[in-house]
């Protein structure tokens, strides 16, 4: 059997370096948006929906996790189930986190999100069964990682000193935006992956792709942990 790691490996490396250069953008609400959020008073439904969607579409750590999650989900029903679990998870902690003013160090949360990417890629390689003879229930895992993701979001939103006036509707709007953004991102990922699945290269490259995903997850975790200890 001929091994054809070349193009995929190059693509994976390209992805990694692109990731490195966009790193600053990860999960940060950018400066202009921050200024808007800090000065916004009263109910601002559409702007908050937009910010939520933007956060999700540009949050590549989240997108990497989604790629891992749906990598081997062939049926739309399954995709819908997993994504719903994830959405329920992060909505719960986003809303309760902001309302109860729970703040967790965002570096730690993002490190956990990085680990979630590693976990999912490792799981896609059947790693848990092969090494430990046991596999964590993937539905529960996706829900739990969803909870962590929501905490990270809640913490970052609280750092912005949001106005108390209209807080709940604005938060709900932001959350709706997050789901819309997730839906859009997922659509794009599904299109690409489905096309890729229709070619014979999919299974042949599934191994190296998940290894690359793991590498990205490790790097993300390392960066966030460094930030936690240094920043």
């Amino acid at each position: 059997m001929r091994k054809r790691f070349d193009t995929t490996a190059v693509a994976a490396l390209g992805m990694l370096s692109a990731w490195a250069s966009f790193s600053v953008l990860a999960h940060n609400v950018d400066k202009a948006d921050q200024a808007f959020l800090a000065s916004a008073t009263g109910i601002q439904i559409i702007p908050f929906i937009y910010l939520g969607a933007k956060h999700m579409v540009t949050g590549y750590d989240h997108l990497l996790f989604l790629v891992g999650v749906i990598f081997f989900l062939y049926r739309l029903k399954e995709v819908a189930l997993y994504v719903t679990l994830f959405a329920v998870g992060h909505s719960l902690t986003l809303l309760t986190g902001v309302l109860a003013r729970i703040e967790v160090d965002p570096y730690l949360i993002d490190a956990i999100i990085g680990l979630s990417v590693v976990y999912k890629a490792f799981d896609n390689l059947n790693g848990f069964r092969t090494l430990f003879g046991w596999q964590p229930e993937p539905r529960i895992a996706v829900l739990v990682f969803g909870l962590f993701h929501g905490f990270g979001l809640a913490t970052k939103l609280q750092e912005l000193q949001l106005s108390q006036e209209g807080l709940v509707p604005n938060m709900l709007a932001f959350n709706v935006g997050v789901e819309i953004g997730q839906f859009l991102a997922l659509g794009a990922i599904l299109l690409i992956i489905n096309y890729w699945r229709s070619t014979t290269s999919f299974l042949r490259h599934a191994y190296i792709t998940n290894v690359a995903l793991m590498a990205a997850g490790f790097a993300l975790t390392g960066e966030q942990l460094t930030g936690y200890f240094v920043g």
């Binding site: 370096s17 081997f72 590693v118 799981d123 059947n126 090494l131 190296i208």
Partner: protein, 184 residues
Amino acid sequence: MLNMTPQSVVPPKRQLLLGTTIAFVVAAFVLVLFVLPAEFGIDPTGAGRLLGLTGMSGDSGEIAAQVMNEHERKYRSARILIDVKPGEELEYKATLAAGEPLLYSWTVAGGPVYFEFHGEPTEGEWPTDYYRSYQIKEKSTGEHGSFIAPFTGRHGWYWKNLSAEPATITLEAAGYYTRLGRIE
């Protein structure tokens, strides 16, 4: 239930461990060589400095370069009284290097005056007679503010006394200018 679609690929244990190790090592390399220097200014191998990646982060002492501008000598300041005859126009400018600030304050006894705060470069490639206008007011009796030179050159005010009486402008300025005075 027979499931025809795979939920995972099943590499043998050896390949799984190899892949995981490779992923870890690649991540460590990318982190140490690129991400840590660029994001945190941590550069154990020196690769970040070679690649020009250190100094991209606002942390690790680089912040000083963004908010401070140290000088060897004390700044200069001046208080100048400028008499302007009715209808007369004249210019006073400070010569500043790019990035240098100027604190200014001027008031008019008499007047009002028309003014244009503007600057013209003295270094570098520019179109002939290029100048940049910062602010124009048709009628003013005084302005206060701070300014940061966008390019190396002479920056200051064109004034015209609009009244039928003589006016006196009191100009106070402070900064690291090399010259402050009337432009003939």
